[in-house]
Amino acid sequence: MGQLQLNKLTKQFTDHLAVDQIDLQVNDGEFVVLVGPSGCGKSTTLRMIAGLESISSGDLILNGTRLNDTHSSNRNMAMVFQSYALYPHMSVFENIAFGMKVRKVNKNIIKQEVEKAAKILQLENLLNRKPGELSGGQKQRVAIGRALVREPEVFLMDEPLSNLDAKLRTKMRSEIKELQQKLKATMIYVTHDQVEAMTMGDKIVVMKDGQVQQIGAPVDVYNKPINRFVGGFIGSPPMNFTQGVLSNEGGKLQLMTEQHSIILSHDENIALQEYVGKKLLIGVRPEEITLGNEGDEYSYSFTVTNTEVLGKESLIFYTFDEHNMWNAKLFDQYTYQTGDTISLQLKPEVMHVFDADTEERLADHYQLSAN
C-alpha cells in the first residue's frame, strides 16, 4: 500500500485557478476525505492524482517516486467514478476483468481474481448481468470491484455515493469504510457531503476556492474550525454566527450585537480583554444551544420563525437579529409556532471566537472554552 504526498500541487486552467498550491500528506492505510462545496477544486485535485488532469505545478509523490509525468495507467491507482463509468455492453464479470484483460493476465487468474472480488462485494450471483440490470448500489459495488482487482497502492473515489438514495448511501458509507479497514487500503475520497466526511475519514481536508482551509481528524475540525467557512461547512445544521463589538461593562466582557448584549465572561482578566473595543465574530453550534429560563444570566429571548420536529429532536429557527437567522437543535419534541418568543441559553464555553475581519479563529488562549 502507498504513501502519497502532494507538494504545492496546482491546477491552472486557461481561465481560472482551480487548485492553488495544495500540500497534503496521505499516510499508508489512511482514509483521507477531500470535502468542500462544488467548484472548490476537490475533484480536480483527485483527477490530478489519478493522472486524468495534468499538473500545472507542484509535485505528486507516491512512495518516494515523483509521478507528475507518469501516465495514469502506470500510477498504480484505481478510481471509482461518480457515474460508476461501467461499460454498459459488458457483463459484470467483463467489467471487473477489463483491466486485467488489457494487461493480458492469464484467463484462470482473471477468473480467480474476479470471483474473489465478487465474493468480498457480494456480487457472486450478478456476474452475468449487464449494468443496466443492476440497482444503483450494485453498480456501485461493481465499480469498487473493478478497483479492487487492480490491487492499487491508492484508491481514489470521486463522490461515489452521490447518485444513491439516502438510505442506500448510509449503508454504502459504512460498507466502504469497513472495506477500507479490512484491506488496510490507502484511500482518497472526494465528497461535498460533510456527513460523509465526518463519518468516514481518518483525516479530512476542507477545501474552498482551490485552497485547503483545514486538515485534521474530523472531530478536531468540528471542535476547532479554523475559520468561519469551516465552522459553517462542517456540522449540520451549520454553525450560527453573529458579529459584535467587545466591551467591558463593569468587569463583564460583553459582545454588543445589533439587538443583544451577549455575556462572554465575568472575568475581565482573561486574554480576550485585549479585544475590548474591537469587532469580533462568534459562532455557536445549534446543538450546543439549550433551552433557557427568562432571567437566567446566559438566557436571551428570540422570536421563533419555524419549528421542525425531527423525531426525538427539534430544530428551532429563530431571528437572532435583523441580519442573522439562527437555529437551535433541542433534544425533545417542541411545538413552537411562528412568532412565539423563546428563551435560549448561550453559554460562553460553547462559543467559537473569530476575528471579525479575517474571519479566522482566534488562538486557543483567547477561546472561552479554554477557561
Binding site: S73, A78, M79, S83, Y84, A85, F98
Partner: protein, 293 residues
C-alpha cells in the same frame, strides 16, 4: 349507451388518423396494391386496359439478361458504397469528435456534399470524370497517373458511381456517428485509460460496440439509399454504357416511361418491395437482438 360512447371515442381516434391515412393510402398502399395487380397483366401503351397473363411477367423478368444485370449491378453498388461510407463516416466522426475550431471546419466541409442536391453533385462529378479536360484527367497528368475513361468504360463506370455516392453520403452518416459518440459518457474512456487500454483497444472494445445502434441505423439508411437514389444516373450515364451503370430503380423507370411497359415495371417494383421488406425484417428480428442499446 355504452356502445354509442365507444363509437364516439373511436370516431375521434379515426378523425385524428385521417389526414395521415389519406396520404398513406393515396401514395403508398394504393400504388403498392396497383403494382401487385398490374404485375399479373400484360399492360403497355398498346394495351392500356391490360390482359391477364398470370406469372408470365415474373418468368420473363427472371430470364431477362438486363434485369439480372441490373440486380447484379445493384448488389455491386450496395457492396461498394455501404460498408465504405459507413467506415469512412465512423472514422471521420471519431477523429472529429473533440470540439476544436479546426474540427468544426472539417465537420462542415465533410457535411457539405449532403446539402447539395444529387443532380448538382452529378454535374460536379461529370466535370471531374470528363475525359481529356476533366479535373481527374488534369490531376492524373500532373502526377503521371494513367487517364481513366470513367464514364465511357463498362469496367470503370460502376466505380465512378460508387466514389460519387460515398463522397455524397459519408458526411451525412458522420453526423449520426457524432451524435452516437455524444451518448457515450466520457468517464468510460477515462476509466479505460486508467486501466492502460490503448486507443485501438478502446475503439474495438468500447467505442465500436457502443456505436452499434447507430451503425445499424446508418446501415439500413445506406442500404435503402443504394436502391432508391438514382438521380445521378439520369444526369451522367442513363444506365450506360451497355447497362453497366443501370440500377433497379432506373430500370423500372425505363420500362415504365421509356418503353411504356407497365406490366414489367410493376413486376420489377413488386420484386424490389419484397427485397426491401426482407432487409427490414432481418434488421428488426436478427440484428436488433444482438446489439446493446
Amino acid at each position: 349507451m355504452f356502445k354509442k360512447q365507444t363509437l364516439k371515442v373511436n370516431m375521434y381516434g379515426y378523425l385524428f388518423l385521417l389526414p395521415a391515412l389519406i396520404f398513406l393510402i393515396l401514395f403508398t398502399y394504393y400504388p403498392t396494391l396497383l403494382s401487385i395487380h398490374d404485375s399479373f397483366y400484360l399492360k403497355d401503351n398498346l394495351r392500356p386496359e391490360g390482359a391477364f397473363v398470370g406469372l408470365d411477367n415474373y418468368k420473363y423478368l427472371l430470364q431477362d439478361d438486363v434485369f439480372q444485370k441490373v440486380l447484379w449491378n445493384n448488389l455491386i453498388f450496395a457492396i461498394g458504397t455501404v460498408p465504405t461510407s459507413i467506415m469512412l463516416a465512423m472514422f471521420m466522426a471519431v477523429k472529429l469528435n473533440k470540439v476544436t475550431r479546426i474540427n468544426q471546419w472539417m465537420k462542415t466541409s465533410y457535411f457539405y456534399p449532403t446539402v447539395i442536391p444529387l443532380v448538382a453533385v452529378a454535374n460536379i462529378w461529370l466535370f471531374i470524370y470528363q475525359p481529356d479536360f476533366g479535373l481527374y484527367t488534369r490531376f492524373a497528368d500532373f502526377f503521371g497517373l494513367p487517364d481513366i475513361p470513367w464514364l465511357q468504360s463498362e469496367l470503370w463506370v460502376m466505380p465512378a458511381m460508387i466514389i460519387l455516392t460515398i463522397w455524397k453520403e459519408a458526411g451525412f452518416f458522420m453526423i449520426f456517428f457524432l451524435a452516437g459518440l455524444q451518448n457515450i459518457p466520457n468517464h468510460i474512456y477515462e476509466s479505460a485509460s486508467m486501466e492502460g487500454a490503448s486507443n485501438g483497444y478502446v475503439f474495438r472494445k468500447l467505442t465500436f460496440p457502443l456505436l452499434m445502434p447507430t451503425t445499424l441505423f446508418v446501415f439500413i439508411i445506406a442500404l435503402t439509399n443504394s436502391v432508391k437514389t438514382v438521380d445521378h444516373i439520369f444526369v451522367m450515364t442513363e444506365g450506360g454504357p451497355n447497362n453497366a451503370s443501370n440500377l433497379i430503380l432506373y430500370y423500372i423507370y425505363q420500362n415504365r416511361f421509356t418503353f411504356g411497359d407497365i406490366g414489367i415495371a410493376a413486376t420489377a417494383s413488386v420484386i424490389l418491395i419484397v427485397v426491401l421488406l426482407a432487409i427490414s425484417l432481418i434488421n428488426f428480428f436478427v440484428l436488433d437482438r444482438k446489439i446493446h442499446y
